[in-house]
Point group: C4
């Protein structure tokens, strides 16, 4: 049997390079411990470059990134992340989203233990780095879903939620999976990474605040 | 239409280099998440080199820094930081200030949630790295202003406060904008950065102390 | 007297290189302060490459790694880590384990002060990076042993515990020594390091949670 | 007037190099914010290489290190650290000490706010990296002195304390100055740095523990 090999076009390599760099940064902050997390970017033809299952996100090489189709089927014989359907679901839901980043960060996991159903972020200037937000007088709601090893079922649940937010003309920037981590996305890897930095910063702030204020 | 282009004199490039390095450091500590924060330095002729709106402060290049006049008007067709008037207000108020650094740090944001109206820093040896302070037996007051998307109005409010401190011969080293971050300044980028390090260190200490002592 | 010198075969150098890199990372996170911690890897012929006593684990060179036999006796005139018997005990207990990493991390030391007898990790997606765990609906028990300067006695106590876990067909991924640090292991240095990242992340989360929830 | 210039012998340059590297590390951990802290090493002829006043300890060059005599008098026209007498006092008290490191670390400053008169470190395996300690069943006492801008007076107070510890055959590994930072030392820069890492780790642990346990 031949070794699985991805056809690495220029566009693939640019996107893969962005995901690799994002991984360096996210790992440097301790938000993808061990082999946790998974990242993807959508190519112009609709195929999705996504991290191979089980790789350490802080030390990715182009060979750790593979191609799947819009339904999450491997196109190159490699084994994609177990959570691929959460990525493809987001790309299907949002035509203008071209990158999805998922991390197991302390802020998001702690938030899921301390808040019920959602984290509400208000009165933070930093909210303005999120897509479509132009004042700190905004209310950004990040839902928390129960963890589920049945990814198809979880993807469906997430999508129903996102559909209802979209119908209410309410932008959703990310979601938390309880005891697990959070997903965020953007029109580019750069925007998705901006959302990662901002959301984790705010989750962490809210938790530190809880520790001080409750006592 | 021609691409906006800044005339990069030697002095501009030296100051830009200092702002770029300051950005590396401030980002490495997690104090300018995503595209938050903005930095500036005043040139000898009174023009101000300031970060272009929306750039990530951890990865600045000289092209991410532009020139505005003393009133904050762009001199090179680029779009300056939305908070430019807070920078120009400080340069107008303080003739000996030549650098202004603004960060969205966890310490300053948490302090704004936990303290009312001001943070008082006392009995800290580290206060001595602040301009004009030569003993830990000093009382350094850092005011907290409510956040405001009307930057002209906020700049005016800040300036009235700074004027009253100046009239009382009381040096002010920085201020916090609630839920947003803090501003500090110095006669050089190096001095302003020294103030960044010291103030954030002290904000963080006061918050950790509150977490332990209140319980 | 001749200087102690280890015969550095290719296999030894590869394993030593992995331990050196693991040390860089573990030190960068602050988990092996000063000269604390010790690391080892088992070679194919059963000899064990282990860190020399008293070296800083963040700045290891191949000369800081030596060879002992399966009973922990030095094979090259160097002085192995004082805790060598804890390493050899693990290799004897687990035929498929080829790397052991021990760190003095804040998470494990704090956990030993705050939990009685064991740390129970449940409902964490990150558990899935541990060997043999495939759902967050797992219960991972990390025992806490009292510290003991008599390493032979401690090794015996640990081994009796591990034997009873093995008899119950219950995988054990690591253990904490109170006020000291934790041990974890894997079939390779990479797997052991994955366990280090995951366990310390989870210990730290549980402690932060305790700080917030108890108040 | 000629520019102050230090005669940089080989021995001076080796010691300066060690202090520069120690500064990189200590700064990377955030323990010498802004221009705080000061470091020194004793040369074989009794002269002392010490950091020049007001330099950032994270970015030292050999020119930021100067020579003083055993009484702290500058030998090369440069301005030594304001706390030089605390260094020379330690060298006079301890003939076998050849390096002194002083940092303004969060752990030591917080400890000085939370503990009365001394920090007692017990039942920590990490104590064994301190000179002369060979079991975790040790009791290491780190005294806390009130801060004082009169360095000669503070040096005298410290020395009287150290003398009484020495008379009781009780090794002292470091001391805290309240709201300021801590001093530690060793027979070499490497040993002093080992003490820095271990003490700050333990101060931080004790404070985190206090935050959790008190609540």
């Amino acid at each position: 049997m031949e070794k699985a090999r991805t056809v690495q076009t220029d566009e693939f390599l640019v996107r893969a390079g962005e995901l690799i760099e994002a991984g360096h940064f996210i790992h440097s902050r301790g938000w993808v411990p061990a082999t946790s997390g998974n990242f993807s970017a959508r190519l112009r033809d609709g195929r999705i470059a996504i991290t191979v299952s089980g790789r350490h996100k802080g030390y990715l090489t182009p060979d750790d990134i593979m191609l799947v189709d819009a339904d999450g089927r491997a196109l190159d014989g490699k084994q994609p992340s177990a959570e691929t359907l959460l990525h493809t679901g987001l790309y299907r839901r949002y035509p203008d989203v071209n990158a999805v980043l998922h991390q197991h960060s302390p802020g998001s996991v702690l938030a899921s233990r301390l808040f019920q159903g959602e984290v509400v972020l208000e009165d933070h200037e930093l909210l303005k780095v999120l897509r479509g937000i132009d004042t700190h007088e905004s209310r950004v709601v990040v839902p928390i879903f129960p963890n589920d090893q049945d990814i198809a079922r979880l993807a469906l649940r997430v999508d129903e939620y996102l559909k209802s937010r979209a119908q209410a003309k309410d932008i959703c920037h990310g979601y938390i999976i309880a005891g697990h981590g959070f997903y965020t996305w953007g029109e580019s890897v750069a925007e998705a990474l901006r959302h990662v930095e901002a959301l984790e910063f705010l989750f962490d702030l809210e938790i530190r605040l809880l520790g001080v204020k409750k006592s």
